[in-house]
């Protein structure tokens, strides 16, 4: 199957592409996929995508495939990167916000302390909430773009490839 890898490559580059790929499987994709969902003539079972080392066995269901992808190192890595960022970040901004609200309602003297000109601690803390929101937005988007998007997209196409035509 000479066309296979190339077709897969173009598809990975194009996140909009979501159609069955007739090049894979040699003939009409629908006809080539048999009961077990993978072993059409010329299909390459378990072509290890993105280092996931997934083996296609006959008779798998979609549930098996998802469980297997979930256990795979590539997915574990994507999930770990996502959680390592959002869990501490969410805890931090929620605590910072709650501290701000509690201070604003209970610690009047602290909040009213003047800093410079008309600016006091309260105004600076309020503007600080705006600033940290913008900064965290920027940091999250950058983190996702650099550390997660590519791996997630590869997993997406691989998983869709495996589940195509499988009985659900």
């Amino acid at each position: 199957m000479e066309a296979g890898p190339e077709a897969v490559a173009t598809r990975r580059a194009d996140p909009w592409y979501d159609e069955p790929d007739p090049a894979r499987g040699g003939q009409d994709g629908g006809a080539a996929v048999t009961e077990d969902g993978r072993s059409g003539p010329g299909a390459e079972p378990g072509r290890g995508p993105a280092g996931t080392c997934l083996e296609a066995e006959p008779g798998r269901s979609a549930a098996d495939i998802y469980l297997e992808v979930q256990r795979g190192p590539a997915f574990q890595e994507v999930r770990r990167r996502y959680r390592r960022f959002v869990v501490p970040a969410s805890a931090a901004f929620l605590l910072w916000y709650l501290a701000y609200v509690v201070a604003a309602t209970t610690a009047h003297d602290l909040m009213a302390r003047p800093v410079a000109g008309a600016l006091n601690v309260a105004v600076l803390a309020g503007l600080g909430q705006f600033l940290t929101t913008f900064l965290l937005t920027w940091a999250y988007v950058r983190h996702a773009r650099l550390h997660r998007d590519r791996a997630a997209l590869e997993l997406r196409w691989d998983t869709q490839e495996m589940t195509r035509g499988v009985e659900r």
Binding site: A63, F75, T105, N120, G126, F130, T133
Partner: protein
């Protein structure tokens, strides 16, 4: 206020109505009414378009006029709202937007029900989504009536009633004919108008003070008669411990509620991928953050240039602060500049209301048709009827909202927005976060999380000071007040999370490992996303 502004304001209102109806007609030509089209607008909006639409969906007239008004009257305490409304978007961005886009098709219930027994979960989430939407909608309708009456000078009941009916009829037309595509474009137009209006006024205010924010704040504090206290918290919420706890409760509901609002979540289905959903949230955070920064300038500007006393004399809750500020900035009462700016502000407020109610009506009609009707229709009935049901539901919700809006127009319903956020935070958010992040979550846990947040939130409000037992209550004559806070969030949000946890650990059935794997893989990679 002379008749001059009113004519101009009415002309601008009419122009906006004509433009939005033209949009509705234009987007519906030659399109068949598929569910994809009606609920999600074809899913091909760009992140920038969706970001503007989200901002247009989220920023209500209460933000534009209400928050600036509170700042003009109470100084710093008004700012607390805008901080909560903005920080809430971090919850949406980090924990919800991309995952919801990947797992769901049209509604919040799609995501929660994916791992669970479909019918009970879909019903529960559908019920709470419709409750949130109706609470929010009634608040907007009543607000629209009094606002338009206020801006046009006629405070008579007839003007208000016709406004409520007119707004209701328009939103039904937009939604049932134009679906998500028309709603989105109306929200985009509104967001552009609102940002344009806010930028223009902010520039004029800053120009008055030669760009010196310090002198703006100082003159606001001087004119308020409270000195430095005007710039620090405590005037509105610093009194009793009840008032302080009440604000903490509201703050919690605001920051957690946004991520559970059905009309906000529905917006993520209008873009093709999770990455596009993320980028739309970035656009909306920029727009919403910029907007709230401007409302702070406008609020202090109104305090400095109009004065809290005059603002209060015009409207006790401060809703006319920005229109009055516009009059002053344009050259004062009777000047042409003042009339034009005033009419523009009134028209922007009107556009804001229409865009927000259209978004909510669409989301609630989707919940009725896609969640409630779809899980209770006879087995074997074809799926085809669903969009028809959704259109009919939009009409039904419009009628209910008009009816409740007319009944409630003399009542003090300001608490309804806070309640809608509290229900969203205590019923929708626990179910959503647990199903996205907790491996052992079960059907019983999901159902309990939803009802365990929804029921306490509503019951606590019924026995709170907003309903009875105080002069500002809905029923000041009777007293069955048991709960001291006006906003139930402080109790009902933990209750929702706790109920979901108890439901899960006491669940007889084991969690479905395979469907959890499917949800998790789909959420984080987008595999199989529509």
């Amino acid at each position: 206020m002379s008749g001059h502004h009113q004519t101009l304001a009415l002309l601008l209102f009419s122009a906006f109505v004509v433009v939005t109806l033209a949009i509705t007609t234009w987007v519906t030509r030659k399109r068949q009414g598929s569910a994809e089209e009606f609920y999600a607008g074809g899913r091909l909006f760009s992140p920038m378009e969706n970001g503007f639409a989200i901002a247009g969906d989220y920023m209500s007239a209460a933000s534009f006029l209400g928050i600036s008004g509170l700042i003009a009257l109470y100084g710093y305490d008004g700012m607390l709202y805008s901080v909560g409304f903005l920080v809430a978007w971090l919850v949406v961005l980090l924990l919800v937007a991309e995952l919801v886009r990947n797992c769901g098709r049209f509604t919040l219930a799609d995501v929660v029900a994916a791992r669970m027994a479909e019918r009970p979960v879909r019903t529960a989430v559908g019920v709470s989504s419709v409750s949130v939407s109706v609470l929010y909608l009634v608040a907007q309708m009543v607000g629209a009536g009094s606002l338009v009456a206020l801006l046009l000078g006629g405070t008579g009941d007839t003007a208000r009633s016709w406004t409520v009916v007119g707004v209701g009829a328009l939103m039904v037309v937009y939604v049932s004919l134009g679906g998500m595509r028309a709603t989105t474009w109306i929200q985009i137009v509104k967001a552009v108008l609102l940002m344009g209006g806010a930028v223009a006024l902010t520039v004029l205010v800053l120009a008055r003070f030669h760009g010196d924010v310090n002198s703006l704040l100082t003159s606001a504090a001087e004119r308020s008669g409270r000195g430095g206290d005007f710039l620090s918290p405590g005037i509105l919420y610093g009194g009793s411990w009840t008032a302080r706890l009440d604000f903490i409760s509201l703050g919690l509901a605001l920051v957690l509620g946004t991520a559970g609002l059905p009309h906000i979540l529905a917006r993520f289905y209008t873009v093709p991928t999770a990455r596009a959903a993320r980028r739309s949230v970035v656009w909306s955070i920029g727009l919403i953050g910029g907007f709230y920064l401007m409302t702070i300038v406008l609020g202090f500007g109104a305090a400095a240039l109009v004065g809290p006393a005059d603002v209060r004399a015009s409207n006790a809750s401060g809703n006319t602060a920005v229109p009055l500020l516009a009059l002053v900035l344009g050259g004062g009462e009777g000047s042409n500049g003042g009339a034009v700016l005033f009419a523009v502000v009134a028209a922007v407020a009107f556009a804001t209301i229409l865009a927000v109610v259209a978004g909510i009506t669409l989301a609630s009609s989707a919940s009725v048709a896609h969640d409630l009707y779809a899980s209770w229709r006879r087995p074997g009935a074809r799926r085809r009827g669903e969009v028809g049901v959704a259109r009919a539901a939009a009409v039904g919700i419009g009628v209910v909202a008009i009816g409740l809006g007319l009944l409630a127009q003399d009542l003090n319903v300001a608490f309804l927005v806070g309640l809608a956020f509290a229900v969203a935070a205590s019923a929708n958010l626990p179910a959503l976060l647990y199903s996205l992040f907790w491996r052992s979550f079960t059907t019983r846990g999901a159902v309990w999380a939803v009802y365990g947040g929804l029921v306490p939130a509503v019951l606590l409000v019924l026995v709170s000071p907003v309903v009875s037992g105080s002069p500002a209550s809905l029923f000041p004559g009777v007293d069955f007040q048991l709960f001291p806070l006006e906003n139930p969030g402080l109790v009902s949000v933990p209750a929702g999370f706790l109920a979901g946890w108890i439901g899960t650990v006491t669940s007889p059935e084991p969690p479905d490992r395979a469907r959890h794997a499917e949800t998790e893989v789909r959420a984080l990679t987008g595999a199989g996303a529509v």
